[in-house]
């Protein structure tokens, strides 16, 4: 492969760069620019609420899904060790045991912090994790 063979890639890169630069430049040039304090504020999602909603929406499934991924990946690592268990011997068992102990600590921590309590109303969990330190600080 000579350098000339990279020409299509270079052309593609130039085209992509040119397209993005021209679009950005056009929208910057054409759009009127009248900044206000609200417009410069960081945009998160929709309008900043004026008051707390009456009901909080539970999103506990997302926490459980995230924890599931951690322990699922753990199993993947165990498979890699299990197929060659005899060859690794006691050193392998010690290493995997340490790994399992670390994950056991993680599980215990998550449990203790209440992330596995499915039936706790969200408001109470929220209070425990976020509101309390604020009250302590105040």
């Amino acid at each position: 492969m000579t350098l000339a063979d990279y020409l299509p890639i270079a052309l593609m890169a130039l085209l992509g760069l040119g397209f993005s630069v021209v679009t950005l430049w056009l929208s910057w040039k054409l759009a009127p620019n009248r900044p206000t304090a609200e417009k410069l504020a960081p945009y998160e999602c929709g309008i900043v609420p004026l008051q707390e909603p009456a009901e909080r929406f539970p999103v506990k499934f997302y926490l459980v899904a995230m924890l599931f991924v951690i322990f699922d990946v753990e199993i993947v690592f165990l498979f890699a060790w299990a197929v060659r268990m005899d060859e690794f011997g006691w050193a392998g068992i010690a290493a995997v045991g340490l790994f399992m102990a670390l994950l056991g600590e993680t599980l215990a921590y998550v449990w203790k912090r209440g992330a596995l309590d499915w039936n706790v109303p969200y408001r109470r969990r929220y209070r425990r994790v976020v509101a309390e330190p604020l009250e302590e600080a105040a």
Binding site: E44, E105, V129, P133, L134
Partner: protein, 491 residues
């Protein structure tokens, strides 16, 4: 695995054990903050001692290679290297980590029950930073980089009540992940070009370039460029610096010091190992790219810092310029590494002190630190103003400060390497740098400000004190430390 293997990664082991101890003490035993905080401090201290033991044990040996499941495999493809370079890096990173813990102590107190998580993340981040400096394999380097980065993404958004902290965390996360992706792509292309992922050993980059002449370097050059872009993002060298000011401004002041100084320190040392120690045969291919990156960084950083009205943003943009100065020293390869080590370590300590002062003046959980907060500080809090003046002059590179000695070192190295134009450019921007550092000093002493400054906690005072003492001591009497960095060469 043998005993020397364990010594090579002892700092990591201690730091991870410390992180577990913090979580266990705080959540299971429900002990007070003083106890698990002491455990965290002890872990950082012992990790630093372990790095010191490595330095002492190495003596005159250039270093040793470690870690593989099978004995002989170590010689072919080592994962971890233990040499004077990594031992000094370990000491420096643990010192910066300890300063970071002290600087964040007030913030940790205000976090309440989330405090232990913050401290555990801090320890994990320091472990990742240290792993970056001992990594002898680019995949391990990537993992270490991610360990540190992901911890810092979370720490940036730890004060969830503030919207700009959310913005900082998300911006840091998205741009940082993007940079990591580019870095990993560079590693993959380097593997495609050379068939090596490690630096040392029979299957490493060094032995590949010692026995092979690359005739068609297309893929190799692209790989080197991508690695440089990935590192450039992490150490906020222009033009990959856009995230830094917003992230520093939004993240809680108590945490920013370690986020900025730690990543820069470990990033430069890892960059030095990969490029200067791992790819010295290719120096003609990468040194001009590093020089251009350095030139752009010193110009962009200095010019943009001069127009800031916020001390945190000013420190962020001046950090871009400082990244440029360190890269100036790196252009000459392994001969510039002592200068790079000296500059990066002293800059990290000065930056820790400066951000601790920002936390003392504008609140350790707060975001912005506008000039109005600093106006009249010379009368309202003379001690803080004096310390800030010393640190800013050090960052500016005035004589009798560590910043001056560091600049002298990198510039001398670059002139010997034939980069006179770059040194002239860097000298001009140093003068611009003095302008914006002195602008903060002038604001503190000549402008009128209102309101009393909250009492500074002893932890912050320790950080500032250490930073000021190091700045002045290494500026007036740098020779012992210069000898140390001269000995601290990678394998």
């Amino acid at each position: 695995m043998n005993r020397a293997d364990l010594v090579a990664v002892l700092p990591e082991v201690i730091l991870l054990a410390g992180a577990l101890a913090v979580v266990t003490l705080a959540v299971f035993a429900d002990r007070p903050r003083a106890e698990w905080g002491t455990a965290a401090g002890l872990a950082l201290f012992l990790a630093g001692v372990a790095a010191g033991v490595q330095w002492w044990a190495l003596g005159d040996t250039p270093g040793s290679l470690h870690f593989s499941a099978r004995g002989l495999e170590v010689l072919r493809n080592p994962m971890v290297v233990m040499d004077p370079y990594s031992a000094l890096a370990g000491i420096a990173i643990c010192v910066v980590g300890l300063l970071g813990l002290l600087a964040a102590w007030e913030l940790v107190g205000s976090l309440g029950r989330r405090g232990p998580e913050f401290v555990a993340l801090l320890l994990l981040a320091v472990a990742g930073l240290h792993a970056m400096t001992i990594a002898a394999n680019l995949v391990l380097l990537f993992l270490a980089l991610e360990t540190a980065s992901i911890s810092f993404y979370v720490m940036a958004g730890f004060t969830r009540e503030r919207l700009d902290a959310d913005e900082a965390a998300l911006k840091y996360f998205l741009l940082g992940s993007f940079a990591s992706a580019i870095f990993v792509y560079g590693v993959a292309l380097l593997f495609a070009a050379t068939g090596a992922l490690g630096i040392y050993g029979a299957g490493g980059l060094r032995s590949f370039f010692a026995t092979t002449i690359v005739v068609e370097p297309g893929v190799l050059v692209v790989a080197l460029g991508m690695l440089l872009v990935g590192f450039g993002f992490k150490v906020s060298a222009a033009p990959f610096h856009q995230w830094a000011p917003d992230v520093y401004q939004g993240a809680p002041s108590g945490a920013v010091g370690l986020m900025a100084a730690g990543v820069k320190l470990a990033g430069f040392l890892a960059l030095g190992r990969v490029f200067a120690a791992g790819l010295p045969a290719q120096i003609d291919r990468w040194s001009s790219a590093v020089a251009i990156l350095a030139g752009v960084s010193v110009i962009v950083g200095s010019v943009l810092a001069a127009v800031q009205r916020d001390v945190k943003r000013l420190l962020a943009y001046s950090g871009v310029a400082h990244a440029g100065y360190v890269l100036v020293g790196l252009t000459v390869g392994v001969f510039g590494l002592p200068a790079v080590t000296f500059y990066a370590t002293t800059y990290a300590v000065m930056l820790m002190g400066a951000f601790a002062l920002v936390g003392a003046v504008s609140g350790s959980g707060g975001g912005a630190s506008p000039f109005e907060d600093w106006a009249g500080l010379g009368r309202r809090a003379p001690g803080l103003a004096l310390a800030m003046t010393a640190l800013l002059l050090g960052l500016g590179g005035l004589p009798f400060t560590a910043g001056f000695v560091g600049k002298l070192q990198v510039f001398t190295a670059a002139i010997r390497g034939g980069f006179l134009w770059l040194v002239v450019l860097a000298l001009v921007t140093t003068v611009v740098g003095l302008y914006f550092y002195l602008r903060v000093v002038a604001t503190m002493y000549f402008d009128d400000g209102e309101g009393a400054v909250a009492a500074t906690p002893w932890t912050t005072r320790v950080v500032v004190g250490v930073a000021v003492v190091v700045t002045l001591a290494l500026g007036i009497f740098p020779w012992p430390y210069l000898d140390v960095v001269r000995d601290a060469l990678p394998l």
